[in-house]
């Protein structure tokens, strides 16, 4: 792909005091993808998103958004980004209509028709105070504000964490419709994996500020296997495959591996493994315990 990725980070790091919130983060997010940014609370998801939109400055390394720096070229980049922060901060005392006026006055590229149509389709009364809306409705208002900028890249920080299952579904549905209609690139962070597989095609997992798994979801699922066999030392497997997690009982050993080819050893029975289990294994995975593949730029083409 010749165009620049929607997001490119190189050796990106951010330190708060003595703590590295993000370190050694080198990755690309391809244009047109819907990428899930997954990790436990405090793993650096918000830090990465804040660096991407120029809300904070990198301690080390570089970040490029839509091919430009979100800090030194902010005026060229920011109008092309939509961002919904965690818990959808809105002015609770304003009405829905006032919130839209606020968005229109602050954003030169505002699509007022789109904003009004969305609010209308959602059945939200324009005269209602934002603070009186349900959590799901507030999330939809926040999303509307971000979408009315007609962004090329939409960044959503834990957009559905506080919503009930129905509101979650409605929110993700709205995001997917925008992807279908306008081809927007989306990065959404979450600590819930279950419902992301349907809506995302790329995945980044962060653990303790470091990306562990970066790539297309279908390739990630296809390359991992669960091996079970009689209790044994996994070192022979580890010579060929990358062992992510090993568990042993008295009689049985279970390995989750990133397969470096076929598994030929007949003492292992192999099973397919779903995305959620893979992600959980990586989130519990500490580099150095099992050796990690060298971190070249972890590019994925869409």
């Amino acid at each position: 792909m010749s165009e620049s990725p929607a997001l490119r980070t190189t050796q990106l790091g951010k330190r708060y005091g003595a703590t590295w919130a993000l370190r050694d983060c080198t990755l690309d997010v391809p244009t047109g993808s819907v990428t899930a940014l997954v990790g436990p609370n405090g793993a650096g998801k918000s830090t990465l998103l804040h660096l991407a939109i120029g809300l904070s400055r990198a301690t080390t390394g570089t970040v490029e958004v839509l091919g430009r720096s979100p800090i030194s070229e902010a005026s060229a980049v920011l109008p092309r980004l939509g961002f919904v922060a965690q818990d959808h901060p809105l002015h609770k005392g304003l009405t829905v209509a006032e919130m839209l006026t606020y968005g229109r006055k602050l954003n030169p590229t505002w699509d007022d028709e789109l904003a009004r149509r969305r609010i209308d389709e959602l059945g939200l009364p324009p005269s209602r105070k934002v603070g009186k809306l349900s959590g799901g409705q507030q999330a939809q208002v926040a999303l509307t504000l971000a979408l009315a900028k007609r962004p090329e890249l939409l960044l959503l920080d834990e957009p559905v964490a506080s919503l009930d299952p129905l509101a979650r579904r409605e929110f993700l549905n709205a995001v997917m419709e925008v992807v279908a209609e306008h081809g927007v690139t989306v990065i959404l962070s979450s600590h819930i994996v279950a419902e992301l597989e349907r809506v995302c095609d790329h995945l980044i997992t962060l653990t303790e500020g470091h990306p562990q798994l970066v790539g297309r979801i279908d390739e990630i699922v296809a390359s991992h296997r669960l091996l079970t066999g009689p209790r044994s030392d996994p070192s022979s497997v580890a010579r060929v495959h990358h062992v992510i997690r090993e568990t042993h009982t008295d009689r049985q050993t279970t390995l989750l591996v990133r397969a470096g080819g076929h598994v030929y050893d007949t003492c292992w029975e192999q099973h397919e493994v779903d995305l959620e289990e893979i992600v959980l294994a990586y989130l519990g995975y500490r580099p150095g315990v099992a050796s990690r593949a060298p971190a070249a730029r972890e590019v994925v083409t869409s």
């Binding site: 549905n173 997917m176 419709e177 992807v179 279908a180 597989e197 076929h262």
Partner: protein, 119 residues
């Protein structure tokens, strides 16, 4: 199984069973996305695969349609397969299998290689 393959299988099956007829229009990507809350790239991927298999064809600016000649099995054959399957299901029930076990058995027979010991 990847989500796009699930879509491919559903359409393929609908065509084979005659639920979708040649010339029928498939929903737009946006419509599928709206009804399933699914990534549009997944739908596009599925449609590309079905197109590649010759089962559907896109007409620019109009939509996506079931191809004129997707070669379904002859209706007689389908009927006979169905009745022998019904007899088989009856036999399985009288052998004490419940629906879940029957579905499991059928699924197992269709995918002999999901649990494989590779030599």
């Amino acid at each position: 199984m990847p989500a796009y393959l699930q879509l491919v299988q559903q359409v393929r099956q609908a065509i084979r069973l005659g639920i979708l007829q040649p010339g029928d229009q498939l929903p737009t990507v946006k419509e599928v996305v709206t009804s399933l809350t699914i990534n549009p790239n997944t739908v596009l991927h599925a449609y590309r695969q079905l197109d590649f298999e010759g089962l559907i064809e896109g007409r620019r600016g109009v939509g996506t349609f079931v191809s004129a000649d997707p070669v379904p099995p002859p209706p007689d054959e389908l009927k006979s397969l169905r009745s022998s399957l019904e007899r088989w299901v009856e036999r399985a029930r009288s052998a004490g299998l419940d629906d879940e076990s029957i579905a499991g058995l059928v699924g197992d027979a269709l995918r002999p290689s999901t649990v494989s010991r590779v030599a």
